[in-house]
């Protein structure tokens, strides 16, 4: 006989494995046997070595942390719908872990004596439990653990449809062949290779490929003294060459290289050695196509000659990023690598654009990247925020010079857009006359912001003061930094205002830890991760690090690490902030990759429980750092 509460229990359980495999009648009967347990925060459900309970548990609300005794490290967090405490179901042994309420929690205790018959009868239920128990993961159906469960590492080429397609894509090869003839002197060969920055050269007989000389040949045959450097190409080339038709897929190319144990393939019109050589394919090209190596990508960026090529390399960067996140590589490292690559792309774009300009820049200039890219936190394709800083010129030349740099700025920003950096909606780009100044102009602008810290000025400073030099003279930027710190020291009020700016962001969570979602507009009912979580923690880092007059560190996590070093008494909080900023960045990146956007707005109902918990955990740190700032910079005294 069911009652209203058991219906409620059943209604919850039916959404989660293994209960979703039960039929309604079984579920109704089981639900009736359930005991609902309320656990206060930090109260223990069962402890290590405790005798097994007559129940196992399902989390209805809240979260349970599983820990090993004596270590504070949480092994697992069980969230809504998760099952734990299964040990007694399978073996009459004491618990191996301690289960503690991570927060106020409501549990459904399912009696083992009523459940076991169901598990034995229903194979799907039984399998779920055994797998869940054995793999030590709570939910073996989750994608994340799918691979581990069967003892194979997650094979992305098998699961990921996009990689699969990539494998079958025709491979990109270099068509501008670097060649020589049999009689070319080895020294000339080496010089040619160096000039073209390639690792191999094709030895041709007319149009037909005769042999190939690679870095390895030069190293092993010439540098060792085996063959004199005055010899001819014929003496050291590998011949005959292994040729393939030009319509080769990435997978085929890989196979071919593995089969013959070579690193270069020569592509000919019809795939035989008796046809015209059309291209050369190196292992590097294959790696690039697979997009799994930052060094390869970096080299590709440096070699790229137009923005379209850089765009496809950026796709490789995204694949790399995804791979890193799947492998759980520390986000600090990931963001370093990715921002290096982003920086390199930007740099390359600037170089390409400079080449295309009819005249050389009249004076030295510096390309500053601002905001997230300046902080080295731009993992996804977010907006481009940048500025140009050029050397002081005589007054009469100023406008002319500015016109030049504005044109350069517009071109670069256009190219960056082609590569995949969206235009900044607020137009904070070097193409905007107010973001393209000479050094003394920039000094005036920044000192104006510092002396008149209105809301607008504070916002502009908070974007601008994270600048980082991507291209050009670092000395110019350093001089600007000195000027900024000088002014900031003279007007300490500025820091207070900057701090109050950091407090302006709306709170991430409501009274009972519910997420606060946007009330209206396009993103109604979405959680604004950037505004509510990332910005407060980034802003706080900025004001704190500026108050220590440190400009060399831009990355938020690193800023907090430095602060922890500078202020040992707040060490713990700062380290927590460093961690939280990394966690949030990772979160945003994951979300962004998942939905292929900037990751800023999050649909809460699409988050899994673990993600929600993780997100919420950072909120506490945010609140703490905000109150530290509030007190330290006496924000309250400020008339807002």
């Amino acid at each position: 006989m069911k009652n209203t509460i058991s219906e409620r229990v059943a209604d919850f359980l039916k959404n989660y494995p293994p209960f979703n495999s039960l039929d309604n009648k079984q579920l109704d009967e089981l639900s009736l046997q359930v005991t609902i347990i309320h656990k206060e925060s930090n109260s223990v459900v069962f402890s290590e070595k405790e005798e097994p309970h007559a129940y196992f548990y399902v989390v209805n609300k809240g979260a349970i942390a599983l820990t090993k005794k004596g270590s504070s490290q949480i092994l697992d967090i069980c969230d809504e719908g998760d099952v734990f405490g299964l040990r007694p179901l399978l073996a009459q042994e004491s618990y191996k872990l301690e289960a503690k309420a991570y927060e106020e929690t409501i549990l459904y205790a399912v009696p083992i004596k009523d459940f076991k018959p169901l598990a034995l009868e229903n194979k799907r239920v039984g399998n779920f439990l055994i797998e869940s128990f054995a793999s030590n993961t709570r939910n073996p159906y989750s994608i994340k653990h799918r691979g581990k469960l069967y003892g194979v590492t997650a094979n992305t080429t098998e699961n990921n449809p996009s990689t699969k397609i990539l494998d079958l894509q025709p491979v990109r090869y270099s068509t501008d062949l670097v060649t020589c003839t049999e009689g070319t002197k080895i020294k000339t060969v080496a010089t040619t290779m160096a000039k073209h920055n390639v690792s191999s050269i094709l030895v041709l007989n007319g149009d037909l490929p005769l042999g190939i000389i690679t870095d390895k040949d030069l190293r092993q045959k010439v540098a060792t003294g085996l063959f004199p450097i005055t010899g001819s190409a014929k003496s050291i080339m590998s011949s005959p060459v292994i040729t393939y038709p030009k319509e080769l897929t990435v997978a085929q190319a890989q196979m071919a290289m593995m089969k013959s144990n070579i690193s270069h393939l020569v592509l000919t019109e019809d795939g035989t050695a008796d046809a015209k050589a059309v291209g050369i394919l190196s292992k590097h090209d294959v790696m690039l196509a697979l997009g799994n190596n930052p060094a390869v990508l970096l080299r590709a960026i440096k070699r790229a000659t137009d923005s379209k090529r850089l765009r496809s390399i950026r796709h490789g960067i995204m694949t790399l990023l995804q791979g890193y996140l799947e492998q759980n590589i520390p986000i600090g490292l990931v963001s370093k690598i990715i921002s290096e690559l982003n920086d390199a792309s930007t740099k390359r774009i600037i170089e390409i654009t400079l080449d295309s300009m009819e005249v050389k820049p009249p004076v030295n200039f510096t390309w500053l990247t601002l905001g997230s890219q300046g902080r080295g936190e731009q993992l996804l394709n977010t907006d481009q925020d940048n500025a140009i800083l050029f050397e002081d010129v005589p007054e009469e030349k100023l406008e002319e010079t500015r016109t030049y740099f504005l044109e350069l700025g517009s071109k670069i920003s256009q190219e960056l857009n082609t590569v995949g950096f969206e235009y900044c909606p607020a137009d904070m780009m070097a193409s905007n006359p107010s973001w393209c100044h000479s050094l003394s102009e920039w000094k005036d602008v920044t000192s104006h912001w510092i002396n008149n810290p209105g809301p607008e000025e504070i916002l502009l400073s908070s974007i601008f003061f994270d600048y980082n030099v991507t291209y050009g003279s670092k000395a110019l930027a350093d001089e600007l930094s000195h000027s900024i710190f000088d002014h900031a020291r003279r007007y300490p009020q500025f820091l207070t205002h900057l701090a109050s700016g950091a407090m302006q962001n709306p709170s991430p969570s409501g009274f009972f830890r519910d997420f606060l979602v946007e009330q209206d507009g396009e993103h109604k009912d979405f959680f604004d991760l950037k505004l509510r979580a990332l910005m407060p923690i980034i802003d706080a880092a900025r004001v704190l690090i500026l108050s220590h007059s440190i400009k060399s560190i831009n990355n938020t996590a690193e800023r907090y690490e430095k602060l922890a070093e500078l202020e040992p008494n707040n060490r713990e909080l700062f380290l927590a902030c460093s961690y939280a900023s990394k966690a949030l960045l990772k979160f945003r990146t994951r979300q962004g990759l998942l939905h292929n956007d900037s990751g800023r707005f999050i649909a809460l109902d699409q988050l899994n429980k673990e993600e929600k918990i993780k997100l919420k955990r950072t909120f506490k740190t945010i609140k703490e750092i905000q109150s530290l700032i509030e007190i330290r910079f006496q924000v309250k005294n400020l008339l807002r």
């Binding site: 009652n3 209203t4 509460i5 058991s6 219906e7 409620r8 229990v9 209604d11 639900s31 009736l32 046997q33 359930v34 005991t35 609902i36 347990i37 309320h38 656990k39 206060e40 925060s41 609300k61 106020e104 409501i106 205790a109 009274f511 009972f512 519910d514």
Partner: protein, 225 residues
């Protein structure tokens, strides 16, 4: 002396005496040893003399545990019927639920609650409705201690001149505050369940150890506390 049986005693059925018997034992001192009966009634209206109880739902709460099958839900046969309130609780005069007579329902209820503390949202309304029903059946009033979740909840709120406290907090307000699903709202047992969770969360905030303290906390704040 001639053993005259007390006349009054004869007027009450056995279940009442069994009920009274429980009150010979004092309540356990500590909250965790106490069983709380969280109850809610659905009625035909708010008039104590005119209106009738349609349904009583109750559950037992002990040391933070609710045993699902050990809950109480009884639907009562009706003479008086008010179309208006049926829209709220959805209990129609001739619904398919098994009904019991008012007396039988009261009997079952008394057997269920024993001498335990009754907890409800605006508990006095439910208690008075039950008392009115008891009176109709020639029985005395309930003897249990009561706890009102609204009064307790108010005590958890910060005393501030800035934030004006509301005068009344409905069960919906509490459910929202405590993120309790409002499914089954306006069924007696469903409301009792929401009340139970709200009660647990409130108690965690107040953190009293002893039952006496908890009962006292319902009152308005005194100086020195």
């Amino acid at each position: 002396m001639w053993p005259f049986p007390k006349k009054k005693q004869l007027e009450f059925p056995d279940f009442w005496w069994a009920y009274e018997e429980h009150f010979k034992h004092p309540l356990p001192e500590l909250i965790k040893d106490n069983t709380f009966i969280v109850l809610d009634t659905e009625t035909t209206g708010f008039n104590l003399t005119k209106d009738r109880i349609l349904c009583i739902g109750a559950l037992k709460l002990k040391d933070n545990n609710i045993v699902v099958k050990d809950s109480f839900e009884v639907y009562i046969e009706q003479e008086h019927y008010d179309v208006g309130s049926a829209e709220i609780h959805g209990i129609l005069k001739k619904s398919k639920r098994n009904r019991t007579s008012e007396l039988e329902a009261l009997k079952q209820f008394l057997v269920y609650i024993e001498n335990q503390v009754l907890v409800g949202h605006h508990v006095m309304f439910d208690v008075n409705m039950v008392n009115a029903a008891l009176k109709r059946n020639g029985l005395p009033k309930l003897k249990n201690e009561n706890l009102d979740t609204e009064s307790l909840y108010k005590r958890t709120l910060l005393i501030s001149t800035v934030v004006q406290k509301k005068d009344r907090y409905t069960l919906d307000d509490l459910a929202q505050k405590f993120s309790i699903s409002r499914k089954d709202r306006h069924t007696a047992l469903g409301d009792a369940f929401i009340t139970a969770i709200a009660f647990l969360r409130t108690v965690e905030k107040l953190k009293p150890k002893k039952i006496k303290d908890l009962i006292r906390k319902q009152g308005p704040l005194r100086f020195g506390l």
